[in-house]
């Protein structure tokens, strides 16, 4: 039995409605309890800001394309490297760090749970191997279905049950957590070098549209009672004028689940562009947030960009090729048979570029114009918009109009004309930041019931104690202190153990991987479906028996079982 007592903590715990109370937290064997014995280890938080461990609900840290980002970028590996020290392994890389680099730096910032944004089921084993080497965060994997042939066949046949059964089988085989759609239908078209430009355009050879894929899988998701909703990277990412596609997509979304959203729209900054060319691109954040504010069934995340060099990586292969044709830098592409695509290119976001400045402003506008912080979560689509180590700066910008004004003064002159950021006075408070960095994520991902994102009795003791005294810092003026405070916790506690102290990792990690087993009735299980098996054996290049990820790839797997309503 191990016990820990955190005293004098200034707790903000939005899920339990606690906002800045000075209180003590008792922990026994990794969970929060009513009280502990007097033999417990004691941490005095000295009234510092204490939050549930941070949760990133959309980040790219593990798997085939992330590792290829490293593989092709020795220049980045040199940009951030540390020696082996104490319990810390060697790390390399700045915007695509090695697995240990990701894990240590997230931990130093108080993050204890990460959702990998995109995993191709065929390559799931790779993602899980890297999860094991990212030891200080619990991991979950979005599983790609955007170009899944069996799903598209079911959609064409208007067979929601079948689509659900395919999803259930695949999530189980890949040990995945949620349904991810990246440019639905577009990644299949990219198999021929094409893309789709509207959600009502048909996928070549499959006679289904992105709109049909999205709506069918939203229904299938609820039939399977999955903890998270469909997680969507909309069509037409990064194209001027794409906001209309985004709004059209939002219009498709029914409100099916009282406990959470029915659609999670990711990195919406990249989907909120007006204009029709790179010359007249402008912000449509007002239109997007007007839609979000009227639709509680949708949660989005920012997809904030920050000015730096970074790497874009996504399953959206055609988008990466378009970007490559603009940047003329190196380009990698990796399409995955019967499932999805992917692409990688390095980019530099520069204040000299009007387009980049407008993108930067749009991300902030989205957060400031969305009324409920539960509906706009903070992230950068790491590393696409910026590496995650930039999150503290984003927090600073959202909390301080002065900071924004100072930054805005350094931007390309066009930015002010084509966005509304200059006019936004709103400054987010500590509670709203806590929602946007952990509580909102826990609710959106459906893991609050697993004891994540809050500090209630029975919750997993994942806790971040920041060296910030909220009663002594005025974030509007002293935004530097806010940024520095969020860069490095005094303590990061993971399942009741202090894993990081003042940025230094002090123990070996022991993370868990959450995955979902949605049980469907015998008669529609894919492993009994002769036609599914026949097509699998004929068109995949691995045998069906060799496809599922074995349990030993998840040394601390945590299965969430659901009973499908089929």
């Amino acid at each position: 039995m191990t016990e820990l007592w955190v005293k004098n903590a200034c707790v903000i715990d939005p899920i339990r409605g606690i906002n800045g109370e000075i209180m003590d937290i008792a922990i026994r064997d990794g969970r929060i309890v009513e009280s502990v014995s007097d033999r417990a280890d004691v941490i005095d938080a000295h009234r510092c800001l204490t939050l549930p461990g941070g949760i990133d609900s959309h980040t790219h840290v593990s798997g085939t394309k992330v590792n290829f980002g490293r593989y092709m970028s020795p220049e980045d590996m040199r940009a951030g490297r540390t020696k082996r020290r104490g319990k810390m392994h060697v790390t390399s890389g700045y915007y695509v760090p090695t697995t240990f680099g990701n894990s240590y730096r997230y931990s130093a910032m108080g993050y204890t749970t990460l959702l990998e944004g995109a995993m191709a089921p065929l390559e799931a084993r790779h993602t899980h191997e890297e999860f094991t080497a990212t030891p200080h965060q619990d991991m979950l994997a979005n599983t790609l279905f955007d170009g899944n042939w069996a799903v598209m066949d079911a959609v064409r046949e208007h067979d929601v049950r079948k689509a659900a059964a395919v999803v259930a089988w695949t999530l189980n085989a890949a040990r995945g957590y949620a349904i991810k759609l990246t440019n639905p239908g577009g990644t299949e078209a990219w198999g021929w070098g094409d893309d789709l430009t509207s959600i009502h355009e048909q996928v070549p050879h499959f006679a289904v549209t992105p709109a049909e894929i999205i709506t069918t899988l939203i229904q299938a998701n609820e039939l399977l009672r999955l903890p998270h909703s469909v997680h969507l990277h909309c069509n037409n990412l990064g194209k001027p004028g794409n906001y209309q596609t985004t709004l059209d997509t939002f219009e498709l979304v029914p409100d099916l689940n009282p406990a959470r959203q029915s659609l999670y729209a990711t990195h919406v900054q990249f989907h909120a562009y007006g204009g029709g060319t790179w010359r007249n691109i402008c912000s449509k954040a007002e239109e997007i947030t007007r839609s979000i504010n009227s639709k509680p069934q949708i949660v989005m995340d920012m997809g904030q960009i920050m000015f730096c060099r970074t790497m874009t990586m996504t399953a959206d292969g055609p988008m990466e090729f378009n970007l490559h044709c603009l940047h003329h830098n190196k380009w990698s592409n990796h399409d995955v048979e019967l499932e999805t695509g992917s692409g990688i290119i390095p980019v530099t976001y520069s204040k000299k570029s009007a387009v980049n400045c407008i993108m930067w402003a749009i991300g902030l506008e989205l957060a400031l114009l969305t009324k409920s912080p539960w509906q706009c979560l903070l992230e950068t689509d790491n590393p696409n918009g910026a590496p995650f180590v930039k999150y503290p700066e984003i927090i600073g910008l959202l909390m301080s109009k002065r900071y924004r004004d100072e930054e805005c003064a350094t931007l390309h002159a066009e930015t002010e004309k084509r966005t509304s950021l200059w006019a936004l006075e709103r400054e987010l408070d500590w509670h709203e930041i806590a929602v946007m960095t952990r509580a909102g994520q826990a609710k959106a991902l459906g893991i609050a019931s697993q004891g994540k994102g809050h500090l209630g009795i029975g919750a997993e003791a994942d806790i971040a104690i920041y060296p910030i005294r909220t009663d002594m810092v005025d974030p509007a003026r002293e935004y530097r202190k806010v940024v520095e405070g969020f860069q490095k916790t005094r303590y990061t506690i993971k399942r009741g153990r202090v894993v990081s102290r003042d940025g230094e990792i002090i123990v070996d990690g022991a993370n868990a991987t959450f995955w979902v087993n949605a049980k469907v009735p015998e008669d529609i299980r894919m492993e009994n479906d002769k036609e599914f098996i026949r097509r699998f054996e004929q068109f995949y290049t691995v045998r069906m028996s060799n496809y599922p990820v074995q349990d030993l790839y998840l040394p601390r797997g945590r299965c969430i079982e659901t009973e499908a309503m089929l």
């Binding site: 593989y71 590996m77 084993r125 198999g191 070098g193 380009w331 990796h334 048979e337 070996d508 060799n546």
Partner: protein, 429 residues
């Protein structure tokens, strides 16, 4: 007993549809495999125990003794080299990296003498590729450049490309155009619809000519480029541009001939150019069964796919300096651990000769040319035969190798973990 869907660990194709019959202790029959697979499973002769070289010849020693002495050799060394890794599974590779990190060694894998130049090219211009199933289901144009899959990857064509029935290519043989580029006739060129015979060292020029033609600059091309007639080049460029889906596979004929990584870069840039007309992809034909896995494991752990030097405490990468051949050729290295590969057979003579001068330990299921240069040879399991573990196919798909028999040997991961423990003890890998 008959085991289905067994993965052959030999080459980068990792065919996973083999049927292996065993009688308990021995493999008696291999079905579906190529001749290389059959040899891999059937001709599996191993040392009964670790051996050590003495003045009088080889002597058998215990595993404990072999492991202790290996740890001692590594501990004493100033500039140890850990090399190989490509014929074993990921867990072993991962422990190898942790040992290198712990003792400040150089760790390198067999890419250094095969597709290392391809990696350098990819680091310059990227890699537009795909999984092999994309090619199987879609490709109507296949190009094999500087390689001979009929002999080196015997089932590549039947499982993944030329002869494989694909969803959009139901009549593969009739619907696919196969172009083979080589300096000489081979069994693969015999299958080609177009055989492009180029002069030795002419790859770069021919690739440049094709790029120019695809870009609409055919008028600048002379009547013949490196022995290839302009008409043929124009015809091939047209075939490629009119393809629905084209795939280039290349081998050591491109990476190890004059121009090296610049050849590969040029081939990738041709693919990039063709991608502006139609769908085109390119991929190296990787040799060792899990060489791609060693690149993957090294990369997520250290940031670099091969040639990683921990001497400075951080991971440092500079191919040409930190590559195994160069460390050995310069006589810099003072101890070597060779795992799951045979540098004695395929390193340049000067590099191999240096291995014989220094204490070299081999951990490998089989006696090979490196054994003759070594001080200690520790036999172990063979991944995919009597040990399970992860391997990455040449296109990046991770597959679990199976254990089909038990021969009583320790897993190489187990041996390395013991070496690690003797070197450190504190921090588990």
């Amino acid at each position: 007993m008959i085991e289905q869907d067994v993965v052959c660990p030999f080459c980068g194709c990792l065919c996973d549809d083999l049927e292996i019959e065993t009688d308990g202790a021995r493999i008696v029959r291999v079905k579906n495999g190529c001749s290389l697979a059959e040899a891999t499973f059937m001709n599996d002769t191993r040392l009964p125990a670790p051996i050590r070289r003495t003045e009088a010849g080889w002597e058998e020693i215990s595993y404990d003794e072999a492991i202790s002495e290996t740890a001692e050799i590594l501990r004493e060394a100033d500039r140890p080299l850990l090399y190989g890794w490509s014929s074993t599974h990921g867990e072993t590779q991962s422990i190898g990296v942790h040992i290198a990190e712990l003792i400040g060694a150089v760790i390198d894998n067999t890419s250094t003498v095969c597709h290392g130049p391809s990696i350098l090219a990819i680091q310059e211009v990227g890699h537009p590729g795909c999984t092999l199933g994309q090619v199987k289901n879609r490709a109507d144009v296949i190009i094999y450049w500087g390689c001979n899959p009929v002999e080196a990857h015997p089932r590549h064509m039947s499982r993944y490309t030329t002869f494989a029935t694909g969803f959009f290519v139901p009549e593969a043989q009739r619907e696919r155009t196969v172009i083979v580029v080589d300096t000489r006739r081979t069994d693969t060129t015999n299958i080609a619809d177009e055989f492009v015979q180029i002069e030795h060292g002419g790859d770069y020029a021919v690739l440049s000519a094709l790029r120019a033609i695809v870009r609409g600059k055919a008028h600048v091309i002379p009547a013949s480029v490196a022995g290839v007639a302009k008409e043929q080049l124009v015809r091939i460029a047209e075939i490629c541009k009119n393809a629905k889906f084209g795939a280039i596979f290349f081998g050591l004929g491109l990476t190890m001939s004059r121009g090296k990584y610049k050849n590969v870069r040029n081939a990738i840039e041709l693919t990039d150019e063709l991608s502006r007309h139609t769908k085109f992809v390119i991929s190296p034909l990787r040799g060792h069964g899990n060489v791609y896995g060693s690149n993957e494991v090294f990369t997520w752990m250290t940031g670099y796919p091969f040639a990683v030097d921990f001497a400075r405490g951080i991971a440092f990468y500079n191919p040409g300096e930190t590559t195994a051949v160069d460390i050995l050729r310069r006589g810099e290295c003072d101890a070597a651990l060779i795992v799951a590969s045979d540098p004695g057979a395929n390193f340049p003579r000067a590099a191999a000769a240096h291995l014989a001068k220094i204490p070299t330990v081999v951990i490998d299921p089989h006696v090979n040319a490196t054994t003759a240069l070594s001080r200690i040879h520790i036999p172990c399991t063979a991944a995919g035969i009597d040990a399970a573990g992860t391997a990455y196919r040449m296109d990046g798909i991770p597959i679990r190798l199976k254990k089909v028999i038990d021969r009583g040997y320790p897993d190489d991961a187990e041996i390395l973990r013991k070496i690690y423990d003797r070197l450190d003890g504190g921090m588990g890998p």
